[in-house]
Amino acid sequence: MGTEVSAQLDAAPPVKARLAPLAAVLRRRALQAVGVVLLVSTACFAIVQSLPGDIAFRIAAGRYGYDAVTASSAAAVRADLGLDQPAWQQLFGWWADVARLDLGKSLVTNADVGDELGLSLAASLQLAAAALLLACAFGTAAGAFAARHPGGLVDRATDAGVTLARAFPPFLLGLALILVFSVHLGVLPAAGHGDGGSIILPALTLAIGLAALFARVSRDTIAGILASDYVGFARTKGLSARLVYLRHVLRNAGVTLIAYLGVQALILIEGVVVIESLFGWPGLGHALVHAVFWRDLPMIQASALALALLVVAINTAADLAGLAADPRPRNRKAFQ
């Protein structure tokens, strides 16, 4: 066995080489963020352009009430939005404003959009974190339990539960929970924000759907790992079942589940929008739906941007965690 040359390969790679994948992830996600901002802001601009001629009038109506609209208030709105310039000029001006983080003032409340955004973001993050935590804990536990005996009773019961949870759209699930816990039992508040129990129902609603997905993915992942060659080899080395689980199954399952967390971000954010509207939770989704209802364009743009960038941020975090947990070169993506 005279291949000592090969041993050099194993020496720790230089710092630069180790940072390369990190830089690649950050570059890719930064580009994605720029793309997201361009798409969302251009779409919002297109809305302004495509709205019928009396847009200023309608916005003014939204702002001052239908009874109080006058020609002068409509003119004020028109000047506010710069609706008298050529379109391409307006678009560049629009982008420049976004780039300066100048998101404008709400057409409804006339408050600075940035300030309102901060509060909404905090509320949304609170809800998302609570739901994610619940979903992770219960979903992965159910999945791990089901994976112990693929095709067994627990596995089939979990599968049925998962399908049931997914057949009920989030808003129906929320309605059902409100009916049971608020209307019939009267133990939990149905809507609002602030008092102790108000987060329980929205977080639970959001978590149930996510937990179902987590259960399915962790079941498949763990069942696959338990059947893998390396787990089989670890067993025949003489390791106890507990040690095999602790040393080999958990970490490998973690690598896959972290990658999946990024995919989940989309579903999580969609859920946040729906659940906040249903429960009146004053987060970004609630703000967005309200803004759409009132055609409050600066607010639509700001909340949509914040939600989409949240997806990018969660994905970036998942990528970085995956990079730390998985030593293999990331030449292909686990999920798309």
């Binding site: 057949a167 309605l175 739906v289 209802f293 949509a304 997806v311």
Partner: protein, 290 residues
């Protein structure tokens, strides 16, 4: 335990069995479905029949008769009348038809656009590939519901904005899947061999790409129809989708909810249609597809 190759159940040459003649494809397709899949198919067929025939049987969904406020179900009105005295079953039939048709249209548009763009980008490469992939990278980070919401702000929840928004939000998923799979197939030895054998484009699309993509697209389309129906009703439910008095499942749920204790059937009927659609589409998936 990589290969205990002697096990007869393992896939491989040992299990080689003749494939069925093409003419019998339907029967084998049918017999390989599990009980759950057949139930799901039956459920979906029932819904489709209701969506197609229902509006013909109960055409008057808009006629109001306030004297029949919250009328209880009867033989003539299987689901009673709502708070404006309108026939609930007529509204439900029209709403189901609208949801399913719109969902089918969205998925057909998104699937065609995504598949064509995906194959073209994977095949041609170059700037087309770079541009489309860049666009899809950005689009994939924007939740579909968000895109539809922004679009619905365009024209006060008109039907065409919802269609456009849903199709735009969904094509990117088909694009990414088709692109990834096509690139893999096109770079594989089978296509290389086909090139050396001088077999043309038609052969590669027909024998290599399409058979590989078809099952994936079918699974995705089933999910896509489900999520379109869901998105439409969610928007209606939160009040930024189609506007009343259009019969729409989400709107019907919102409108019926205040009368839940007096007339629970009014809320439960659209809920059941929605859940049945989603359960039917979910039940179609076979065990192997993720």
């Amino acid at each position: 335990m990589t290969s205990l190759s002697a096990i007869p159940t393992a896939t491989g040459p040992a299990t080689a069995h003749p494939s069925p003649a093409p003419g019998r494809r339907w029967r084998t397709w049918h017999s390989t479905r599990s009980l759950g899949q057949r139930l799901a198919l039956a459920l979906l067929a029932l819904l489709a029949a209701f969506a197609l025939a229902g509006p013909l049987v109960w055409p008057d969904h808009a006629v109001q008769d306030l004297s029949r406020f919250l009328e209880t179900p009867s033989l003539a009105e299987p689901l009673g009348r709502d708070h404006l005295g309108r026939s609930v079953i007529a509204r439900l039939a029209h709403a189901t038809q609208l949801s399913l048709l719109l969902a089918l249209l969205c998925v057909a548009t998104a699937l065609t656009a995504g598949a064509v763009a995906g194959i073209a980008a994977a095949w041609r490469g170059g700037w087309l590939d770079v541009a489309l992939r860049g666009l899809s990278e950005a689009l994939i980070a924007i939740p579909a519901l968000l895109i539809v919401l922004i679009f619905s702000a365009l024209a006060d929840g008109a039907l065409w904005t919802l269609y456009l928004g849903l199709a735009l939000a969904q094509w990117v998923e088909y694009f990414r899947l088709v692109h990834a799979r096509s690139a893999l197939v096109l770079a594989g030895p089978a296509v290389e061999a086909a090139g050396l054998l001088g077999l043309g484009t038609v052969h590669i699309v027909r024998r290599h790409l399409w058979p590989e993509l078809r099952p994936l697209l079918a699974t995705m389309a089933a999910f896509g129809i489900g999520s379109s129906v869901l998105a439409l009703s969610t928007l209606g439910f939160v009040g930024v989708g189609l506007k009343p008095p259009t019969p729409e499942l989400g709107l019907m749920i919102t409108e019926a909810f205040p009368f839940y204790s007096e007339a629970p059937w009014m809320s439960l009927a659209p809920v059941l249609v929605l859940a049945a659609t989603l359960a039917g589409l979910l039940g179609l998936r076979s065990k192997e597809t993720p």
